[in-house]
């Protein structure tokens, strides 16, 4: 394509690295912080070190990480979705009631929940892509609508007598193979696919471009609306799957409080994972680690017998530290460039 001049330059002989490294500094820091917390917890509460304690932690991390993958894409495009808690409630109650009424098989239950999530995500996506109103306003609106719809479907405080169809993703023995929880493995698998898609395909890179500068992206011929729509639909689909995990984690009954406040845990996981809330930058790997960190804090506080409000405090501190680190990094970059400019 470069016909402006004959390619006279020597091709690099060794295979040059053509992409930035797959793991960024912040992700390594997260691994270190999580490892440190696990060591401290293991030393202070001997029960924590056992597999019986780690397994529920991983199972509980799965829905946050899963919804977080969608949220990562949404935030990379410069948007946000605060309706995921409401979506989880609708998906969970619809699926739970269907399980009770029709004794659905596992694939059908999953399919139903994912379809409902996808539909709700489509509503968000259409309003945001075509509405020209900021995503936080739209999803704040749909959040309330979803909560209302969910409560209507609930009709009573709980749905009882849910069959154990979803136990394959639960905390129990049925939820593990060789001691590894299925829910967590499936989450990692989906995370790997999302990671590859975002990093290696044109469609994935376009999410970053849109978050960087939507106008420039449009001029570059990117289907901005289509991509934004896709981001919210994918979030809905993943929330649908996450809702099944939530049902599986419970007993045979589902409470109205399902999904309550989950949007905050999910956004916390994404932000702690290093995705810029301004859009244009972020990674799925960071989000999975962020989710693990958030859940470790929550479980750790419980295990230590501390008041549960403390976990909110710690998550809040982590968010501020993560955003602060991001700011400092940005400032250092600008200072470096200015120094370079002055030297020139």
């Amino acid at each position: 394509m470069t016909t402006t001049a004959p390619p006279t330059s020597p091709r690099p002989t060794r295979r040059a690295r053509v992409l930035p490294p797959p793991i960024a500094g912040q992700e390594l820091v997260l691994v270190a912080v999580i490892a440190l917390m696990w060591v401290v917890l293991a030393l202070t509460t001997p029960a924590f070190a056992s597999a019986g304690s780690i397994q529920p932690l991983l199972v509980a991390t799965a829905p946050i990480a899963l919804a977080g993958i969608g949220m990562t894409i949404v935030i990379i495009t410069g948007g946000i979705d605060v309706s995921v808690g409401g979506m989880m409630m609708v998906c969970a109650v619809v699926t739970a009631k269907a399980l009770v009424a029709f004794e659905l098989a596992l694939p059908l239950a999953l399919g139903l929940s994912v379809a409902v999530g996808g539909l709700l995500g489509l509503v968000n996506g259409l309003l945001i892509a075509y509405g020209r109103v900021h995503a936080i306003i739209i999803t704040f609106g749909t959040m309330n609508v979803f909560l209302f719809v969910g409560l209507q479907i609930f009709a009573s405080r709980t749905v009882n007598g849910i069959p154990s169809t979803l136990q394959f993703f639960g905390r129990g023995v049925a939820g593990r193979t060789l001691g590894v929880p299925h829910a967590f493995v499936l989450t990692l698998l989906i995370a790997a696919i999302a990671w590859w898609y975002l990093r290696h395909t044109a469609g994935g890179r376009h999410f970053y471009a849109i978050g960087g500068d939507a106008q420039a992206a449009r001029l570059a011929g990117i289907d901005v609306r289509g991509r934004i729509l896709a981001a919210y639909v994918v979030t809905g689909l993943l929330v649908g799957l996450a809702s099944c995990f939530l049902i599986a984690q419970g007993t045979s009954s589902l409470d109205q409080s399902v999904g309550n406040g989950k949007e905050l845990a999910v956004i916390a996981a994404v932000v702690i994972g290093g995705t810029s809330i301004m859009g244009g930058r972020g990674s799925v790997l960071g989000t999975v680690l962020g989710a693990l960190l958030v859940q470790t804090v929550t479980s750790g506080v419980t295990q230590l017998g501390w008041p549960s409000q403390l976990s909110d405090l710690f998550v809040g501190i982590f968010i501020i530290v993560a955003v602060g680190a991001d700011l400092l990094r940005e400032r250092a970059r600008r200072r470096r460039l200015r120094a370079k400019g002055a030297a020139a």
Binding site: A5, R15, A16, L19, H200, R205, H206
Partner: protein, 522 residues
């Protein structure tokens, strides 16, 4: 004025068919005739400069060529065949690529990704990074950049390199005509040298470059031919050898314009505002200006000369890194605009919409903002009656056209809105008033009135500093005019300065005797 192509005689190169021929181009925006019967002929493998004052029609010509605007009349031929440019994709398909002044890049993506965004090379489902990388490395090499730049994140690169990346992006699209819109405005001298090397290499490989610049001295280093525009028409095309900076300035201005203006004398000799040896690393250095009470001093420079950065320092938006600012004999260091105001500097910011006004609020709110301490009862609640009286007085005094002081400022015309923002500074007469681009985007009538207000304030004893890149305005309002070029104050002109002299001084002169500077500034 009708256009006349006074010369299309080749200056260099063979008499091949023109790479680009635009003839009889006209474009109207509402009542404004942006382009009138303009002609532009660019030969293969040459650098063709397009010059003209702000508003002469250069940008509209470029937008037509880039497919952003469609002309009302006229024909375009590329390499001898008629071309229809209906959109940006048509322009790209014809090999016309535009590099805008501000790089249109995605900061968090790599250089390779930026160059191929929206037209990725694919291998199956995924992007073929290796193939893209190889092409990018070739183009970067043509631009004199090392291969490692291909994998760098754009936000990590200096602005000059980012601009080269924009050029690379244009070249990968197989460009035959490359439009560079004010490429040097944001670059340092060393970076401009690099840019010129790149341009020469491209031209040698057969690309035609259309080069737009306000810095006339540059043309003599890089251009083969120059087309001058004035008032939407092309005045003519000249081989560079037939021109001097002074001649280009004359062609741009179209004769010598003089306007009547009152001669004022400063009321005191001690400066009310003095900048002495002021500098900010990377922006400007050794700036010396003194404004005495009762006089209007113009600080004039072309876009990129550093003149707007100087204003930002006086405002306290940026901090100076060397030199001093003295207010009535007292040395000050404005920390932020609020601080500058408390020190006694009244400000009219350059970008009205972003820095100067509260769009959704009323005229009265916009005028009283910043004075609420004086307009409040018991220093606590706003005295709405007093606010209204002040607003009405100023509306009358500045001839703001509005049915009521309750009107929202966002709905008003640019000229009226600017008068309201100016009114805020006049609630009490300031000792020192600094205005940056006071009439940008303002219609002629309002412009006259704003100039009148400036003159009135000076007559009452205010020291006024007008920072502007609008030359007729600088000449019109200023008693003395200090020219900023290359980040420092250079020449000072008295009230008898002519447009051509000042422009030649600001744009750089190839022959020092060209600029008839009456007095050198220290």
């Amino acid at each position: 004025m009708t256009s006349t192509v006074t010369s299309s005689r080749p200056g260099a190169g063979p008499d091949a068919p023109a790479r680009l021929a635009m003839t009889g181009i006209s474009k109207r925006f509402g009542a404004v005739r942006a382009i009138r019967q303009a002609d532009l002929v660019v030969r293969p493998g040459t650098v063709h400069a397009l010059v003209g004052e702000n508003g002469a029609g250069k940008s509209t010509m470029i937008k037509i060529l880039a497919g952003v605007e469609t002309p009302d009349t006229g024909d375009i031929e590329v390499d001898g065949s008629p071309a229809s440019i209906r959109g940006t994709s048509d322009a790209l398909a014809l090999g016309i690529a535009t590099v805008y002044q501000e790089p249109q890049l995605f900061g968090e993506l790599t250089v390779s990704e930026n160059i191929f965004i929206g037209r990725e090379v694919r291998r199956g489902a995924r992007v073929d990074w290796a193939a893209q990388h190889a092409q990018v490395v070739d183009v970067l090499d043509l631009l004199g950049l090392p291969p490692r730049v291909a994998t760098a994140t754009v936000a990590d690169l200096p602005i000059a390199t980012q601009q080269q990346v924009s050029i690379a992006k244009a070249l990968v699209g197989n460009a035959r005509i490359l439009i560079l819109d004010e490429p040097s405005a944001i670059l340092t001298d060393a970076e401009i040298d690099v840019l010129f090397t790149v341009v020469r290499r491209l031209v040698a490989s057969g690309v035609s470059v259309i080069y737009i610049s306000h810095r006339l001295d540059e043309l003599f280093r890089i251009a083969d031919e120059v087309t001058v525009m004035r008032d939407g028409a092309t005045i003519g095309t000249y081989p560079i050898g037939d021109l001097t900076v002074r001649r280009v300035a004359e062609l741009m201005v179209g004769g010598i314009l003089t306007q009547e203006k009152a001669v004022r004398a400063p009321t005191q000799d001690t400066p009310a505002l003095e900048l002495s040896g002021l500098g900010r690393v990377g922006a400007f250095h050794d700036v010396d200006v003194a404004v005495r009470p009762g006089e209007v001093v113009g600080l004039y420079g072309l876009v990129g000369s550093g003149v707007s950065e100087i204003a930002a320092c006086v405002y306290g938006i940026d901090r100076a890194t060397s030199g001093t600012i003295t207010l009535a004999g007292r040395q000050v260091r404005p920390k932020n605009p609020g601080h500058a105001k408390r020190l006694g500097i009244a400000l009219l910011p350059a970008n009205r919409k972003q820095e100067g006004m509260f769009s959704f609020q009323s005229i009265a709110f916009n005028i009283s903002a910043g004075h609420l301490d004086r307009l409040s009862k018991a220093g606590f609640w706003v005295d709405r009656a007093a606010e209204r009286t002040v607003a009405r007085d100023l509306i009358k005094r500045l001839a703001v056209k509005t049915p009521s002081e309750k009107q929202a400022i966002g709905a008003m015309s640019g000229g009226n809105a600017q008068k309201v923002v100016l009114a805020r500074q006049l609630v009490s007469r300031p000792e020192v008033l600094v205005l940056a681009e006071p009439t940008q985007g303002v219609d002629i009538g309002a412009k006259e009135e704003i100039h009148k207000i400036i003159a009135e304030l000076a007559a009452e004893g205010t020291a006024v500093l007008v920072v502007t890149s609008d030359l007729p305005e600088a000449l019109r309002v200023a008693d003395r005019l200090v020219v900023v070029r290359g980040g420092t104050t250079t020449v000072e002109f008295g009230p008898d300065a002519t447009q051509v002299d000042v422009l030649a001084a600001a744009a750089g002169h190839d022959d020092p005797s060209d600029a008839s500077d009456p007095e050198q500034d220290s």
